[in-house]
């Protein structure tokens, strides 16, 4: 009986930890851990980042943390597409040439990160997650 209790406690603990980890990952709280190595490799002798792409990721994540004064704001507005750019994207999509004009990856990436999933299931890891780690 005692063994069963211990097993149940461990199972619930693991379950809650994994869900907590996943939610934290999706919320961007683990980004600094995940990107830390990649960014270290990209620093110049004086410690400054060498190339744009990777540092932008790190900087923007840091800005997100600092600027979000409310606990539920986990992604800084600056990371979202500017109103103008969204308008341009949206307006161009109403043309028939849309599929050849714009990259499919852009709307997909935006949509992936900003949509509620189905009430039955959700996509847990997306191709962008694997791409993120490779960058």
């Amino acid at each position: 009986m005692r063994k069963l209790r211990i097993l149940q406690t461990i199972t619930i603990g693991t379950f809650m930890s994994l869900i907590g980890l996943f939610v934290a990952y999706r919320g961007g709280f683990l980004d600094s851990l995940i990107f830390r190595n990649a960014n270290n490799l990209q620093t110049s002798p004086n410690g400054a980042p060498v190339t744009g792409t990777k540092t932008t990721q790190k900087d923007s994540v840091n800005i997100t943390r600092i600027s979000s004064s409310k606990s539920i704001v986990v992604v800084d507005k600056n990371q979202w597409p500017k109103a103008d750019s969204v308008k341009k994207l949206r307006m161009s999509s109403s043309k028939s040439l849309i599929l050849t004009e714009r990259k499919w990856t852009a709307p997909l990436k935006n949509a992936e990160n900003s949509r509620l999933s189905s009430s039955k299931s959700a996509i847990i890891f997306k191709p962008s997650d694997t791409a993120k780690r490779k960058n």
Binding site: F15, V74, W80, S94, K120, I123
Partner: protein
């Protein structure tokens, strides 16, 4: 080629992660003790899982993106400005409550209207519930559900990134409520839902109740909340329905006569 590889890695990683999260729970707190992990139709649900990751998710997101773009043309700047002038927390509450309201009624209608039920019954055709069975869903049913659930945010121009934690939690909890787990959450079940509630939604009776999305709040308000102390005896649907992936994908989109013709041809 690289994108295809990334898709496969993502699907594999998700499968492993979800197995690690849910299988121990299903073993230690089983709702149906006799149900094995590799139960009947496990492979069929794996097809749905892979289909969702490798094929349909992209289609759903594209459809949703175009729906959002189309909606943008009808929403006035003044309306969006008035929404934006509200505090963020108020916008968030409005989006969540409206989403729950819409998906509750949207889901209830799916069980009533024959045209919608023909797609939705794919999900209900599962005779064994577990975390993998949660993925059994027709892509057109997914578009309908995802469209409805995101409609308030699209209308209001609300960026759900601001609720990333909640969005992620709801996503994984939607899988959990299908898992073969019976573990009382106490009063918390009224806030975030529980497998014991959703299992009753999958009862063999088509109008068994519990239509709400995750939180049973709407069911309590509209009188469809049900939570007997035992598990339902049988899951699934009473209707005759194909038992394979292709059949379940194709039947809902074909007119009845054409489907019957196809079946007759096949049996000859």
């Amino acid at each position: 080629m690289q994108e295809a590889l990334q898709l496969m890695i993502a699907a594999g990683a998700s499968f492993i992660f979800l197995s690690l999260v849910f299988i121990p729970m299903e073993k230690v707190f089983p709702a149906k003790k006799e149900q094995k992990i590799m139960r009947k139709n496990w492979a069929l649900d794996l097809c749905y899982f892979l289909g969702q990751y490798l094929l349909w998710n992209g289609l759903v997101l594209i459809a949703l993106d175009y729906f959002g773009t189309w909606l943008d043309g009808y929403i006035t700047v003044g309306f969006r400005q008035s929404i934006k002038s509200q505090p963020l927390w108020l916008q968030a509450i409005e989006v969540i409550l409206l989403s729950d309201f819409l998906i509750y009624w949207g889901h209830r209608i799916q069980h009533k209207v024959e045209f919608l039920w023909r797609f939705h019954k794919v999900h209900h055709s599962a005779e064994h519930l577990d975390w993998l069975a949660a993925h059994r869903e027709h892509p057109l049913d997914t578009i309908y559900t995802v469209g409805l659930i995101n409609l308030p945010a699209l209308l209001m121009g609300f960026h759900l990134e601001a609720l990333a934690i909640l969005v992620a939690f709801r996503g994984i909890w939607a899988i959990y409520i299908h898992s073969n787990v019976r573990l009382s959450l106490g009063p918390l079940k009224y806030l975030i839902g529980a497998p014991e509630l959703h299992h009753w939604h999958h009862d063999i009776e088509r109008d068994a109740g519990n239509y709400a999305n995750i939180s049973p709040l709407m069911d309590v308000i509209f009188g469809t909340y049900t939570c007997p102390s035992k598990e339902p005896e049988r899951f699934g649907i009473k209707e005759d329905f194909p038992k394979n992936y292709v059949g379940q994908m194709v039947k809902p989109i074909l007119p009845k006569q054409i489907w019957e013709k196809l079946i007759r041809k096949k049996s000859k």
